[in-house]
Amino acid sequence: MSQQILEGLAAIVNEVAGTPIADITPEKSFVDDLDIDSLSMVEVVMACEDKFGVSIPDGEVKNLSTVGDAVTYIEKAGVTA
């Protein structure tokens, strides 16, 4: 798993929701552990699209339940982009 993407994503989650960076680890669930609701998740996704140059359609967002899911998705999307 890309450490660089994980760090970038953690910075985004911290910016959107104020979650301490140290708490943002791959196994954490956005909704259950990090208090990211569906609207905050849209903001996180949009910031990821900007930062990593990938596209994450609305339909995919519901599949990204943990931080690790999002990192893996961004990694794959980045390779195929």
Partner: protein, 334 residues
Amino acid sequence: MSATISLPGTRAGSTLLSVGSYRPARILTNDEVAGPIDSSDEWIRERSGIVTRHFAAADESVVDMALAAGSKAIAAAGIEPSSIDLVLVATVTHPYQTPSAAAELAHRIGATSAGALDVAAACAGFSYALGLADSLIRTGSSTHVLVVGVEKLSDFLDMHDRGSAFIFGDGAGAVVVGPSDVPGIGPVVWGADGGQKDAITMTQSWTEYRDAPGETYPTLVMQGQQVFRWAVGEIGKVCVRALEAAGVSADDLDAFVPHQANMRITDAIVRSLKLPEHVVIARDIETTGNTSAASIPLALDRLVETGQVSSGGLALFVGFGAGLAYSAQVVRLP
């Protein structure tokens, strides 16, 4: 050769002369709307920033509310109703296909020689209508324009729809726009994305309802996340274009009055614009809900009434919603 067509002289600009508003008496708390959508006061506050909203009485029409707000605006402008020569009503909840709410309003308010039409651009409607008023005054076609944003959304809500029942409210706001040697309304920046027309729409058209009625007559339905993404991604850019078009910077602003869609959308747009601390942000949604075309003049009137802004300062208006239509301009505060 046939005769030439002559045109009136053009004007340097137009400006907001006054603002007035009307909020229906009945106030609904989150607890009252939470039951049918299996929600809670806390959830609604967190998702929208809304604490209460107003609902009009059953026998209170869109035109009744527009009349109340419009009369206050005309009185505050210090002009006679008969000197209004155009009435523009931004609404999507006047329940008659025809005639327009504006025609009835013009008659009832005493604007007896005014042109009258409705503007159906949903939550962007007020800013669209203001853009039209400014252009018509500058070209010399109109002199005093009454612009009203009014909605009775409670008539078009399914109170069991989790995506919309808690968001919307009723009310009216109005401004009088008149000529000015110094431009008081900047160029309007507007557009629409009909490719996303289903993001905010009705459950059925009237003819579909006639042929195969659903459980209720057509009500509003909204894809919340899709609208949120569009608003957060695009509306900040529209705001920047409106500032550039008016030749002012964010530092020059005294107030930011966005359509009161959702507090979370306002917060996200404010973050993306990096507005300076001194800019007052309209947050009328807390006690008014989302009133579509009425939200900008209602929020403006609240800022003026509570002394949060002073006459002569600059404000940025931006409306956005079903269409997906958007519209923005910089104005000088009345």
